[in-house]
C-alpha cells in the first residue's frame, strides 16, 4: 500500500513518525532521536517501510532552531540598527524574571554587541525621513564582517514598520555587493512597533539562519535522494506549516513549533469529537503544555518569549507551560514542604520505576504505587517496563519525610502535581475569560491520558477526549496542519475617523501580500481562508486587545468598533462605550488547507470487549477500587468502558475514574464523560 502523508516530529528523546496510508489507515512509530536530526527523520520513515517516492506530503517538526537558540549555538550574524541604539539587545526592557536575586543574569543576546552596527539614518514617528541613510559607512562595516565570514545580516531600524525604505536600501546594497548574504529585514520579519521586541526577533532570525538553512538543506537532499518528489513542510510556532524553503528565511518562526504541533493536533481531536471549545493538554516528562481552542481554532498570540529578555514577535500558539510532568521529582524540604517539580529526572535515568538507575521519586512513580499504570504493559512500544517495587522504594523516601505511608505519600505527590496542571488549565481558560465548564479537555502526550479525567473534574469540564495515539499526537498534528502565514502592519488610527475605503486598503494590502507570498511558494490558493483581525484599545491605552473580525462586516467602521467593545467586555467584564477607540496593528492570517479531512478509520467491532481479562487495584483519594484493564487496540467505534478502568496502549495509559464512561468515537478517540 502507498503512503499518502507522513509526519515526523523530532523530540529530545524520541523521533515520532505518523503515516497515513492510501486506505486512510494510520500507523505510528517511535525511534530514538539522532544527531544530526535529519538521519533520524529518514530512519523513522524507513522503520515503517515508507517509500518516499510515493509520499504526497511530508511534514517535519524540528527542534533544531529551538535548541540552537537555547544553547546559543548558531550564527554568526551581524545586526544593523539606528545610530544611538546599538545597545538595544543589551538594554532589553530593564526587567528581570527573579525579584530577589543579586546574581541575576539577563538573557544573553543572540547577537553580541560587537556584532551590532549602528547606521546613520533616522525616521520619525510618522515614518518621515529625519536623516537619510548613510549607505557608504554602513557598507564599509558590512564588508568587514563579510570578510570575516559573516553571511547573515539582520536590519532593524526605528519606525521601519511605517516606512521600510531605509531597511530596503541597505538590504539592496548588501545584496548587490554580496549575492550570497542572507538578509533579515525587521520590516519583513516582524513589521510591528516596539524596537526591542522587533530587534530581538530580527536578530534571532538572522542568528538562526546559518544553522537552520544548513539543516533543512541537508534534510532536503537526503529526502530527495530517498525519492521524495516535492518540497517538504515545516511546522511553525503559529500552528501552521510553511514550505521548507520559506523556513530557511524565517527560522525565528520555528522556535515554539513543538508545543504548536501538539495544540494543533488537539484542535483537530476536539473538532472530531464535536467540541468547538477545548483545552489541549500535552503532558510529557518534564512539563505540561496547555493551549486554548476556541471556535475550532488554536488560540495564538502575537509574541512569545523563550526567556525573559528574548521576545519573539510573530504568531505563536498561546501555550501555558507548567513545570509539572511525568518525570517531575517529588521531595520534602527541611521544613516539611512537599515539592513536586519543577526539577525533573529527564529521559535518563527517568523515573525510578523504569529501572534505569533512577532513584528519586517522580510523579510517574507515585502513579505506579497507586496502581494507575499496569506493570504488565510496557511503555514506549515495549522499550520501558515498569517495576512497581522500585516505584514504591522511591516514593517511600517522601513517605518517610512526611511521616505517612507510601500510599499516602503517592496520593499526595499526584495531587500536588495535578494541582499545578489544573491551575495551568484554569489560567489558560478562565484566566483568559473563557468558561471551562463547556469545554472538552484533549489529553495526550505520554502522561496526559493518565491525568485527563482528574483535571477535567477539577475544572468541572464537560468531557475528555484521548486521541488514538496519545504519545505521538504531536506528530499526528503535523499531518493535520494547514499552511499558515501571518501578516501584520502597525498603523495607528482612530475609530471615529476611519472610513470603509481606508479599512479596505489596510486589509487589502495585507491580503495582497499574502497572495504574493503563497504564489511565490507555489501554494495553491483554492481553499484560502483569510482571517482579518485588528489589535485595538481605548485611546490612551498602550496594551491592545485583538479583535477577530467577521469577514462580512470587517470593512464597516462601526461594526469594528462594536466588536472591540464586545471583546473588551468579554475579556475584562467592562467596556467604555463612550471612549474613543484606537486601532493599532492590523493583521491577516492566511490559511490554506493542505488536504481534506481524513475519513474515519476505526472499524466497528462486533466482538464483546475483553475488558475483564485482568483486574488491578486502583487507588484514588484514599479509596481502593477493583479496576479492569482494557487493551485499546481491541476497541472499536461505539465500544464503551466504565470507570474505574485503565486503558493501555503502546505509548500511554488512560485512567478512567469511578463514574467515568468512555466511548470510542468514529475517529477512534476515546471520549470520556461522567456517566449520567
Amino acid at each position: 500500500m502507498k503512503p499518502q502523508r507522513v509526519g515526523v516530529d523530532v523530540g529530545g528523546t524520541f523521533t515520532d513518525c505518523v503515516v497515513e496510508w492510501a486506505d486512510g489507515s494510520i500507523s505510528v512509530s517511535k525511534s530514538s532521536s539522532t544527531s544530526p536530526q535529519s538521519i533520524g527523520v529518514i530512519n523513522a520513515a524507513g522503520k515503517q517501510n515508507v517509500a518516499l517516492k510515493d509520499v504526497l506530503t511530508f511534514t517535519h517538526g524540528t527542534t533544531v532552531a529551538t535548541n540552537a537558540l537555547i544553547q546559543r549555538r548558531a550564527g554568526p550574524a551581524a545586526l544593523l540598527v539606528t545610530d544611538g541604539y546599538g545597545d538595544v539587545l543589551e538594554i532589553q526592557r530593564g526587567n528581570r524574571s527573579r525579584l530577589y536575586d543579586l546574581g541575576y543574569e539577563k538573557a544573553r543576546p543572540p547577537i553580541p554587541r560587537e556584532d551590532v552596527i549602528e547606521v546613520k539614518e533616522r525616521l520619525d514617528s510618522t515614518g518621515g525621513v529625519v536623516a537619510p541613510v548613510d549607505l557608504t559607512e554602513a557598507m564599509q562595516r558590512v564588508e568587514g564582517y563579510y570578510s570575516r565570514g559573516y553571511r547573515s545580516f539582520g536590519i532593524c531600524l526605528l519606525f521601519s514598520y511605517l516606512n521600510p525604505s531605509h531597511e530596503e536600501a541597505i538590504a539592496k546594497a548588501i545584496g548587490d555587493r554580496f549575492p550570497d548574504a542572507r538578509i533579515s529585514m525587521s520590516s519583513r520579519v516582524a513589521p510591528e512597533w516596539k524596537e526591542f521586541e522587533r530587534a530581538s526577533t530580527t536578530a534571532t532570525n538572522a542568528y538562526l539562519i546559518p544553522v537552520v538553512s544548513a539543516y533543512l538543506g541537508d534534510l532536503r537532499d537526503r529526502l530527495k535522494d530517498s525519492g521524495l518528489k516535492s518540497d517538504f513542510f515545516v511546522m511553525q510556532s503559529n500552528g501552521g506549516v510553511m514550505t521548507s524553503l520559506a523556513a530557511e528565511s524565517y527560522p525565528s518562526r520555528l522556535v515554539r513549533s513543538g508545543p504548536a504541533a501538539g495544540a494543533r493536533a488537539g484542535a483537530v481531536t476536539a473538532a472530531e469529537s464535536g467540541f468547538a471549545a477545548a483545552l489541549s493538554l500535552d503532558m510529557g516528562g518534564t512539563s505540561t503544555d496547555i493551549a486554548l481552542i476556541d471556535d475550532d481554532q488554536v488560540q495564538t498570540r502575537h509574541a512569545t518569549e523563550l526567556e525573559v529578555g528574548m521576545p519573539l514577535l510573530g504568531g505563536a500558539v498561546d501555550v501555558e507551560s507548567i513545570g509539572s510532568g511525568g518525570g517531575s521529582v517529588a521531595r520534602v524540604d527541611e521544613y516539611g514542604r512537599l515539592h513536586v517539580g519543577p526539577e525533573s529526572v529527564g529521559s535518563l535515568p527517568g523515573p525510578a520505576c523504569y529501572g534505569r538507575g533512577g532513584e528519586r521519586p517522580t510523579f510517574v512513580d507515585a502513579a505506579v504505587v497507586l496502581g494507575w499504570l499496569d506493570p504488565a504493559h510496557p511503555l514506549a512500544g515495549g522499550e520501558i517496563t515498569i517495576d512497581p517495587a522500585l516505584a514504591e522504594r522511591a516514593v517511600s523516601l517522601v513517605a518517610h519525610d512526611l511521616g505517612v505511608s507510601a500510599l499516602e505519600a503517592a496520593a499526595g505527590i499526584v495531587r500536588v502535581g495535578l494541582s499545578k496542571i489544573s491551575e495551568g488549565a484554569h489560567a489558560a481558560s478562565i484566566g483568559r475569560g473563557r468558561d471551562a465548564r463547556k469545554m472538552a479537555l484533549v489529553a495526550f502526550g505520554g502522561a496526559g491520558p493518565l491525568v485527563g479525567s482528574l483535571v477535567a473534574r477539577e475544572l468541572a469540564m464537560d468531557a475528555v477526549a484521548v486521541p488514538p495515539h496519545p504519545g505521538a499526537h504531536s506528530a499526528a498534528g503535523l499531518l493535520l496542519s494547514d499552511f499558515r502565514y501571518d501578516f501584520a502592519q502597525t498603523s495607528i488610527r482612530r475609530a471615529s475617523s476611519l472610513t470603509r475605503p481606508e479599512l479596505g486598503r489596510l486589509f487589502g494590502d495585507l491580503e495582497a501580500e499574502a497572495r504574493t507570498l503563497l504564489d511565490e511558494e507555489g501554494i495553491d490558493r483554492e481553499h484560502l481562508r483569510q482571517t482579518r483581525s485588528v489589535e485595538a484599545r481605548y485611546a490612551g491605552q498602550t496594551h491592545s486587545v485583538e479583535v477577530i473580525l467577521e469577514n462580512g462586516n470587517s470593512l464597516d467602521p462601526d461594526a469594528v468598533t462594536a466588536a472591540f467593545h464586545a471583546r473588551h467586555e468579554q475579556l475584562y467584564s467592562y467596556a467604555l462605550a463612550d471612549r474613543e477607540v484606537e486601532l493599532v496593528t492590523w493583521r491577516v492570517t492566511a490559511e490554506q488547507a493542505r488536504a481534506v479531512a481524513t475519513a474515519p478509520t476505526i472499524r466497528r467491532t462486533s466482538a464483546p470487549i475483553r475488558s475483564t481479562r485482568r483486574r488491578v487495584t486502583l487507588r484514588l483519594d484514599g479509596d481502593a477500587f477493583a479496576a479492569s484493564v482494557v487493551d485499546r487496540s481491541q476497541l472499536g467505534t461505539g465500544d464503551q468502558i466504565a470507570g474505574p478502568a485503565i486503558v493501555t496502549q503502546m505509548d500511554s495509559a488512560t485512567l478512567l475514574v469511578p463514574g467515568d464512561l468512555a466511548r470510542v468515537d468514529v475517529y477512534g478517540n476515546l471520549v470520556i464523560r461522567k456517566a449520567s
Partner: protein, 531 residues
C-alpha cells in the same frame, strides 16, 4: 470548631491556587491598563491578604509595592470606622496612612463568603499624574505633601457594588490626565473583581473555606521558619552601615541613611537610629517605604527563594525614629522617598547585612533616574505628561560582573519603547545606549548605567528630575571601585549646562536636549593587574 492542621499536600494545593490567582490578577491589570508607565512600565502589583491584612500570595510584580501594600491595608482596616462591607472597594494613597507616595494608588476589596470577609484582594499602581505642582507629580522643590498632589485617605470608591461617582469626579478633577487615571483605575478594579470571582467561585467550592483558612497558617509559618533560620545564620553582634542621598533638592546638604542590624535568636532588628532629621524636600521615606525597602534588602541578602508573604516579615523588626528622613512627620514632602531614598535604604541595609555575614553579596547598585515632563503638543493641542525611568547598572558580586541596565531592587518595571514614546509625545529619543565604563572596576566589574538623550521637538515643556547618585557613588566591595555617578545635562542651542539630580519645572523649548547618564554599579574585588 476544631482546628484541623492541614497536611503538606493540601497546603501546596492551596498555595498553587493562591499563586495562580494573583498571577491572573496581574495579567488582567496589564491587559486593561492605559498609561505607558502602567502598561509598558508594569509599575503595579497585585496580592492577596488574609482578613487581618497579612500578605498571603503576591504576583511577580514590583518589590517595593509588594512589601508595603500591607501597611495601607492594615491601617485602612483600623481607621475605617464604618468598616468594610461586601461589594466595597476602598481607595487610598496617603503615605502617612501606610502608603508610599501619592502617585501610587492602592485599591482593595474584601472577598466575602456567606457575608463574612475571608480574604482581601489588593493592588497598587503608579499613576502618571495625581496633580500637585508639576506634571507627573514629582515636585522637586515640594516642602509639604500638599504640593505633591491629591491625597486620599482610605475612602470608598465602591459601596456595596455601586460606584461612588462623586468621589470619582473629585479625583478626576484633580489630576492632569484624567483619561489615563480613569482607565487605569478601571484596570485596578478589574483585577480585584477577577480575584473575587476566582476565590468565591473556584477556590472556596473546591477546597472549602476552612481548609483555605487553615492553610493560611501553614503558608505563613513555612516562610517564617525559613526566614528565622536565615537570620539565625548571621553573626552575633551589631553591624552598621551608612550611605547618603545627595541632597533634598532644596538645601545642598547630604542626608545620611544609617543602619544598624542585630540578629538575636532568629530575630532581626534593623534600626535606623542616627539617620538624618527629616528633610525640607521630598526625599523623605515614610515608614511604610522604609520598612518595605528594609524587607527587600533582607530578602535579597539572606534568601531570595523564600515564598514571600507575611510570614517572612515576622522575624524582622524595623525601628525608624520619628522625625527622620526614614520616618518623617507630616506634612513633610515624600514623593521621592519611594524612589531613590528607598533604593539607598535597600543598599545600606544590604551593606550592614554583608558585614553581618549575609550569604548573598553584591556591591552598591547604580540606580534608575526619573525624568518627567509635560506640556501641550502644539500639533494636536493635547496636553501630555510622561514619566521615564532610566535604569542604572547593578553591583558586581563575588562571582560575577554586575548586570548592565536593570531596574534597581525596589522595582521591576519595563522601559517604554522609543517607538511608543515618540508616537505619543512630541519628543525624540536621539540616543538610548549603555554608558560605557560607568560600572566600577574590580575583579568583577560593576554593570554599566545608561546614556539617554531626549530632544523636545515642538512647543515648550516643563521638565523635572527626581534622581540621585550624582554625588555619592554606588559603593564597591573588597577593593572594587565605586560606580560612576549620574549626570544631568541640558543642551540648549549647542551649549551644555550641568544640572543637579533634582530639579523641577525646568522650562525646555523646542530643540533642547536633556542628556541623562545614570550611575553604574560598584565593582567587587581588587582588579587583577594587567599583563
Amino acid at each position: 470548631m476544631t482546628q484541623v492542621t492541614p497536611n503538606a499536600v493540601t497546603v501546596e494545593i492551596v498555595r498553587n491556587a493562591l499563586e495562580t490567582t494573583v498571577a491572573e490578577m496581574s495579567a488582567v491589570m496589564l491587559r486593561t491598563s492605559h498609561a505607558p508607565i502602567f502598561s509598558e512600565g508594569k509599575d503595579y502589583s497585585c496580592a492577596l491578604y488574609d482578613r487581618d491584612g497579612v500578605p498571603l500570595a503576591q504576583a511577580h510584580d514590583c518589590p517595593i509595592h509588594l512589601a508595603n501594600i500591607q501597611f495601607s491595608l492594615q491601617r485602612a482596616l483600623h481607621d475605617l470606622e464604618e468598616g468594610v462591607d461586601e461589594g466595597d472597594i476602598v481607595v487610598v494613597n496617603d503615605p502617612y496612612l501606610g502608603g508610599s507616595h501619592l502617585p501610587d494608588i492602592t485599591v482593595f476589596r474584601p472577598i466575602c463568603v456567606d457575608g463574612a470577609i475571608v480574604l482581601y484582594a489588593a493592588n497598587r499602581a503608579h499613576h502618571v499624574d495625581v496633580g500637585g505642582g508639576a506634571p507627573g507629580s514629582f515636585v522637586a522643590n515640594a516642602t509639604e505633601i500638599f504640593q505633591e498632589g491629591l491625597r486620599l485617605p482610605p475612602v470608598k470608591l465602591y459601596r456595596r457594588g455601586k460606584p461612588n461617582t462623586d468621589l470619582i469626579r473629585v479625583i478626576l478633577k484633580n489630576v492632569r490626565n484624567p483619561d489615563y487615571l480613569y482607565g487605569d483605575l478601571h484596570a485596578q478594579i478589574a483585577a480585584l473583581l477577577h480575584a473575587d470571582e476566582r476565590v468565591r467561585n473556584d477556590l472556596v467550592p473546591r477546597f472549602g473555606l476552612d481548609t483555605i483558612l487553615n492553610c493560611r497558617d501553614a503558608i505563613l509559618d513555612y516562610s517564617e521558619a525559613r526566614m528565622r533560620d536565615a537570620v539565625g545564620r548571621l553573626k552575633p553582634g551589631r553591624f552598621e552601615a551608612s550611605d547618603h542621598v545627595d541632597d533634598d533638592g532644596i538645601v545642598d546638604v547630604p542626608l545620611e541613611i544609617k543602619v544598624t542590624v542585630e540578629a538575636t535568636n532568629g530575630h532581626l532588628v534593623i534600626d535606623f537610629e542616627g539617620s538624618s532629621p527629616q528633610a525640607a524636600g521630598p526625599v523623605n521615606s515614610v515608614y511604610a517605604v522604609t520598612a518595605g525597602a528594609a524587607y527587600i534588602g533582607v530578602l535579597n541578602s539572606l534568601d531570595g527563594d523564600i515564598p514571600v508573604n507575611g510570614g517572612c516579615y515576622r522575624p524582622i523588626e524595623i525601628r525608624a525614629p520619628e522625625g527622620t528622613v526614614v520616618n518623617p512627620r507630616e506634612p513633610a514632602a515624600c514623593t521621592a522617598g519611594n524612589t531613590y531614598t528607598a533604593i539607598r535604604i535597600i543598599d545600606t541595609v544590604r551593606r550592614a547585612l554583608i558585614r553581618a555575614g549575609a550569604p548573598n553579596v553584591a556591591a552598591g547598585e547604580g540606580e534608575h533616574a526619573q525624568f518627567l515632563a509635560g506640556g501641550t503638543d502644539p500639533a494636536s493641542h493635547e496636553p501630555y505628561v510622561f514619566y521615564e525611568m532610566i535604569v542604572g547598572g547593578w553591583g558586581a558580586t563575588p562571582t560575577k560582573d554586575g548586570e548592565n541596565a536593570l531596574y534597581a531592587l525596589n522595582a521591576n518595571c519595563e522601559n517604554t519603547p522609543a517607538e511608543v514614546f515618540e508616537t505619543r509625545f512630541p519628543w525624540r529619543i536621539r540616543r538610548r545606549s549603555l554608558r560605557p565604563n560607568s560600572g566600577g572596576t574590580g575583579l568583577h566589574r560593576g554593570g554599566d548605567g545608561m546614556l539617554v538623550e531626549y530632544e523636545l521637538l515642538r512647543g515648550t515643556a516643563l521638565a523635572s528630575s527626581a534622581s540621585d547618585r550624582a554625588h555619592f557613588a554606588p559603593y564597591g566591595l573588597e577593593g572594587g571601585s565605586p560606580g560612576q555617578t549620574a549626570t544631568f545635562t541640558l543642551i540648549h542651542e549647542g551649549e551644555r549646562r550641568g544640572l543637579p539630580s533634582k530639579f523641577g519645572n525646568l522650562e525646555m523649548v523646542a530643540g533642547d536636549v536633556m542628556e541623562i547618564a545614570t550611575s553604574g554599579g560598584g565593582g567587587y574585588g581588587a582588579p587583577v593587574a594587567e599583563g
